[in-house]
C-alpha cells in the first residue's frame, strides 16, 4: 500500500509527500492509502463514501486499458442509439 493525495473533488493529484502535505496544510488535498502498482489514471476518491476507487479493480494495467477500450466502444454504441432516438423524436414532433 502507498500514500497518495487527491484533490478535494477526488481527482488524482500527487504521490509526492512534500507537495501533498503542503496541500493538506492548506486544505486543498485528501490523503489516502492506495494499492501498490496502480497507475494514477485509475484512481479516484469517493468523497461521500470516503474511500479510494480503483477503475477496473482486480485487473492489471493491460487489463484496465482493455476495459477502457471496451467501455469507450460501448459508449459509442450508446451514443449512436441516443442520436437515432433523438432524431426520431424530433421528426415525430
Amino acid at each position: 500500500m502507498a500514500i497518495y493525495y487527491f484533490t478535494n473533488t477526488g481527482e488524482p493529484c500527487t504521490s509526492f509527500e512534500v507537495t501533498g502535505e503542503d496541500l493538506m496544510k492548506k486544505g486543498m488535498a485528501i490523503k489516502a492509502t492506495v494499492p501498490d502498482g496502480i497507475e494514477s489514471w485509475r484512481l479516484s476518491y469517493d468523497t461521500a463514501a470516503k474511500a479510494v476507487v480503483v477503475y477496473a479493480e482486480g485487473q492489471d494495467e493491460a487489463g484496465a486499458l482493455a476495459q477502457r477500450t471496451t467501455d469507450a466502444a460501448a459508449q459509442v454504441v450508446t451514443d449512436k442509439e441516443k442520436l437515432t432516438a433523438d432524431l426520431a423524436a424530433g421528426e415525430a414532433e
Binding site: 489514471w41 469507450a72 432524431l87
Partner: protein, 491 residues
C-alpha cells in the same frame, strides 16, 4: 493592473500585431459527423463573436453544410471522416483523425497542425495527403519559443536546426530567410545540433541549446546572444540580428533528456531562463542565470543554475512525447498579457489531460506544477482572458452545459520566494462566488506546488442537440486590439 484598462481606447501607437483578448472555437457534431454540426467562435467571456450561421440540425446530407472554408480543390469531404468524436485515449499518430483533439494540437503560434479557423467561424481542415511530411508534423519542434509583448502572438515563424536559423511563412513548407551562425558560436567545442531556442523580444535575447544529437544525447552547449536589433521587427533578417550582437556568452553542462526535440526555452524578462521538457512519463524544469557575466565567466551550468532540476510533482501515467514521434514535442504557450507561460504535455497517452510547469515570464524562477488527469476526451489548451489558460471539457454535454478547465494567474505575481496564486472556477455559481470570504483557487509553493485543475461551467451548450463531445479550437486572429468590440477588445 495590466494594460487591459486601455483596451477600449487603443492608440495610434498600438503594435499592429496586438490582438484583443483570446477567442476560441467550439465544434459540436453528432456522432456520425453527418446530420448535425455546428461551429461557433466565442470570446473569453463565453459570448459569441460572430453571427450564428451555417449550423445544421437534422439534415441527411453528407456534405459540409457551408460551415467550412475548405479549399475548392479539397479532394474529399470526408478527409476527417467522423472522427471529431473520437475519444483519443490510446490512439496515436497513425490515427490522425483522432489526433485533432489532442492537447498537442496547438502551441503559442496562431496556426496549428490540422486546421485554420477565422474569428468569423470559417474552418479549413488540412488535407491528409502528405500530412506526415508537413512542416508542423516533422519539424514543428524547431520553432522558437517566444516571450512577446502584451497581446502579441508570434507573427513570424523562426526555426533553428543544426547551426542554421530559417524563417518560414506560417506552417508552410517554404522558407523565406536563412542564416548559418556558426561563426558566432564561442564555445570552443560547439555541438552540432540545435535542440531548443527561446527569444525574448523585450530584451532582444536569443538563447539556444546545442546537443550532441537530435535524440537522447546529454551533452549541452548553451549560447546566449543579445542584439541591438529585434528579430521580429518587420524588415529584420536573421543575419541583421547576428550582425548587431552586443553580447555573446555560453555555458556547457550535461542534462538528462529522453529526447532533445522536447526542449522548450523560456527567456525571462529578468535574464533568467527556464529550460523544460517532457521526460519519460514525467517532466523536468531547470532555471539558469543568462544575464551578462563577462567573457569566459560562469561557463558551466552549475555556476548559473537556480537551485536544482525539478521533476514534475503532479500525477503522471503513461504518456508520449517526441521520442514516440517528433510531432509530439513538448509545447509552450503564454497568456494573452505575456506575463505567464506554460511548458506542457499530456497526462495520458497522446493528448489527454495536462502535465505542465507554469512560470512567470518576468522571473522564470517562479514556477508551479499544473495537473489534470483525464484519461479520455482530450482538448487543446489555449490562452484565456487576460492572464490565464483553458482547455475544453469534451465529455458529452447534451444534457448539461459545456465546461472548461480554466485557470488564471496574477500578472504582478513575480516573486519566487512567495507562493503562487492561481484563480480557478467551479461547477456552480455558489462555488465560484461563495457566501464567504475564501479564495476560489489556491496558493501554491514555488517549485513543488501542484495546482490540480477543476472544471467550471460556461453556460454554453455543446453545439448540437445530442452526443456532441465538443472540441475546443484555436483561432488565427483575435481581432485588432483597441477596436470597438467591448467584450474582448477586438474586431
Amino acid at each position: 493592473m495590466s494594460n487591459l484598462s486601455k483596451i477600449l481606447g487603443g492608440s495610434t501607437t498600438t503594435d499592429p500585431r496586438k490582438e484583443g483578448l483570446p477567442l476560441f472555437g467550439m465544434w459540436g457534431g453528432s456522432s456520425d459527423a453527418n446530420t448535425q454540426m455546428q461551429f461557433r467562435v466565442f470570446d473569453s467571456n463565453f459570448r459569441v463573436t460572430g453571427s450564428p450561421w451555417g449550423a445544421v440540425d437534422g439534415t441527411t446530407t453528407n456534405y459540409r453544410f457551408g460551415i467550412l472554408a475548405d479549399a475548392s480543390h479539397a479532394y474529399n469531404m470526408k478527409d476527417h471522416g467522423t472522427d471529431f468524436h473520437s475519444n483519443l485515449t490510446t490512439e496515436g499518430y497513425s490515427s490522425w483523425t483522432n489526433y485533432i483533439k489532442s492537447l498537442y494540437q496547438i502551441d503559442q503560434y496562431p496556426h496549428c497542425f490540422h486546421y485554420t479557423a477565422s474569428r468569423d467561424g470559417f474552418v479549413t481542415w488540412q488535407s491528409y495527403h502528405q500530412f506526415t511530411s508537413s512542416f508542423e508534423y516533422q519539424v514543428g519542434w524547431t520553432k522558437l519559443n517566444q516571450v512577446l509583448p502584451e497581446g502579441v502572438r508570434p507573427r513570424r515563424t523562426f526555426t533553428n536546426r543544426r547551426h542554421t536559423m530559417r524563417e518560414f511563412m506560417g506552417n508552410s513548407d517554404c522558407n523565406c530567410d536563412y542564416y548559418t551562425y556558426t561563426a558566432h558560436l564561442i564555445d570552443p567545442s560547439p555541438l552540432n545540433y540545435s535542440t531548443g531556442t527561446g527569444y525574448n523580444e523585450k530584451t532582444k535575447t536569443l538563447v539556444m541549446i546545442h546537443s550532441g544529437d537530435e535524440s537522447g544525447n546529454t551533452s549541452k552547449s548553451i549560447h546566449i546572444f543579445k542584439s541591438s536589433v529585434c528579430l521580429n521587427e518587420g524588415t529584420t533578417r536573421i543575419k541583421d540580428f547576428f550582425d548587431n550582437l552586443t553580447s555573446t556568452e555560453y555555458f556547457t553542462d550535461t542534462w538528462t533528456n529522453q529526447n532533445n526535440k522536447d526542449w522548450c526555452v523560456v527567456v525571462g524578462n529578468n535574464g533568467w531562463v527556464g529550460f523544460g521538457l517532457k521526460q519519460s512519463n514525467s517532466k523536468r524544469y531547470g532555471v539558469f542565470d543568462c544575464n551578462v557575466k563577462g567573457t569566459g565567466v560562469d561557463i558551466t551550468g552549475a555556476s548559473r543554475q537556480f537551485e536544482t532540476w525539478m521533476d514534475f510533482a503532479g500525477s503522471t501515467t503513461t504518456s508520449y512525447g517526441a521520442t514516440n514521434g517528433h510531432q509530439y514535442y513538448t509545447k509552450f504557450q503564454t497568456t494573452w498579457d505575456g506575463t505567464w507561460g506554460m511548458i506542457y504535455s499530456p497526462y495520458y497517452h497522446y493528448g489527454v489531460g495536462i502535465n505542465a510547469f507554469a512560470m512567470s515570464l518576468e522571473n522564470p524562477r517562479k514556477f508551479i506544477n499544473i495537473n489534470q488527469t483525464k484519461s479520455g476526451r482530450a482538448n487543446p489548451y489555449v490562452a484565456w482572458g487576460r492572464t490565464g489558460f483553458h482547455g475544453g471539457w469534451s465529455d458529452n454535454c447534451d444534457s448539461e452545459v459545456w465546461q472548461t478547465y480554466a485557470f488564471a494567474f496574477d500578472p504582478k505575481d513575480t516573486d519566487h520566494t512567495i507562493d503562487t496564486r492561481v484563480y480557478k472556477g467551479s461547477t456552480s455559481g455558489e462555488g465560484a462566488m461563495p457566501d464567504n470570504n475564501s479564495l476560489v483557487g489556491g496558493d501554491y509553493a514555488n517549485r513543488t506546488g501542484v495546482c490540480s485543475l477543476d472544471a467550471m461551467r460556461t453556460g454554453l451548450h455543446g453545439g448540437t442537440q445530442t452526443t456532441n463531445y465538443p472540441m475546443l479550437m484555436g483561432i488565427n486572429w483575435w481581432g485588432s486590439y483597441g477596436k470597438g468590440d467591448a467584450s474582448y477588445g477586438g474586431k
